[in-house]
Symmetry: C2
Subunit: 200 residues, 2 copies
DNA sequence: CGCCCAGTTGAAATCCGTCAAAGATGGTGG
DNA sequence: CCACCATCTTTGACGGATTTCAACTGGGCG
């Protein structure tokens, strides 16, 4: 869903893998619609603690966090070479914007549910299924895909250490639920994965 | 900060302690500005797992979660007898609304940082300091206040069990950092509390 | 070809959840 | 006014899931 937003793009911007689209503290100016590539957002507090709080792919909107304070509150980093549509704010997309904002909020509440009340294995299962669904919507294979992020990124996002992520992948592989080689994932038994994500 | 929103209130509504302001699944119709009292919001997934995701007091806005899907996604429950300003949607508060939405999003990212990367004691310290600050802004004492929510609510919000919350309160009390009797809190050594919340 | 970052795996420590029981509080009705 | 009950809170013991620390492996890129 490249959506109505893209029409409002005044220009495009390319970001190299590893580079920042914007950093926490930068003055807010634009929203960004991801056209291609992959991003992560993270928060940092003054003490150097940080956490990945979201992953964004084509069709997603970045920069909403800057509307409130006039400065971006998050840092958005490209995980591969990427292209975004730059949309100077404020354009006249109030209504659709509202929906996006609200959806984002709901998404985050759900993520909190994840972080606050599920075991590590469940969190990873939910994460994989969610990723799979989002890829499918965009026309990619939901069963075989490439993780754009490191184990550390996933761990940070899910509130666990990278070692735990690694161990869980290994365990799911032993159980024949998926195959993972590096960042290449193949979901073999999606039903069992769902069962892990949503224990009756 | 009762803010510009209150002017838009068409009516008021009273909600009894324990009663719902709105429930997940209800059709969306209005936003609610809290005028007095105290609310919690929670999410549930189909399997009965649930989690408190926020606490709201006078000046806060409730119901944003319903804009996206046309139905409320969260359940808002009064923790004491409360009054809200009912604001039928959509009024013309686009701009201020954007800021609120965005701020809400940022708030949640920060909460995820809390949930995902801090130990239980830190989380509780952050929670208390945050509450203290919000109360101060509203003209109440930042050092002595009344918790409106149960240990279970706090635990759910912070991703831990009610027993852990209770034990942590006891420990902080033993250390002379605060005094807690039931829901009455007195912060004695706020600097040490900060030190726990933000270890260098 | 070799370095370096990412990933894997193991062992030990620990934090926190679970289960269980007892103590406090506040509201209600007799 | 008091007794009783439901709800909330505290505390203890125990076990298990994750983190931590550490060593090792393997690709990818210069």
């Amino acid at each position: 869903m490249p959506s109505a937003f893209d029409k409002l793009a005044s220009t495009r911007r390319h970001v190299r893998s590893g580079g920042p689209l914007f950093s926490a503290g930068d003055p807010f100016g634009s929203l960004y619609g991801v056209q291609g590539g992959f991003f992560k957002t993270s928060v940092v507090d003054g003490e150097g603690r940080w956490q990945v709080t979201g992953f964004y792919m084509a069709g997603d909107l970045l920069g909403l966090d800057g509307i409130g304070a006039g400065r971006y509150q998050l840092t958005a980093t490209a995980l591969e070479d990427s292209v975004v549509a730059v949309m100077p704010y404020p354009p006249d997309l109030q209504c659709e914007l509202h929906r996006m904002l609200s959806r984002e909020i709901v998404r985050e509440h759900r993520l909190m549910l994840l972080l606050g009340s599920m075991h590590a294995e469940q969190r990873l299962a939910v994460f994989l299924l969610n990723l799979s669904r989002r890829l499918q919507r965009r026309g990619y294979s939901p069963l075989e895909f490439h993780l754009r992020m490191t184990r550390a990124d996933i761990g940070s996002y899910l509130g666990m250490t990278l070692e735990t992520v690694s161990r869980l992948f290994s365990r799911l592989q032993e159980q024949g639920i998926l195959e993972i080689r590096q960042r290449r994932v193949r979901l073999i038994d999606i039903d069992r994965l769902r069962a892990i994500a949503e224990p009756a």
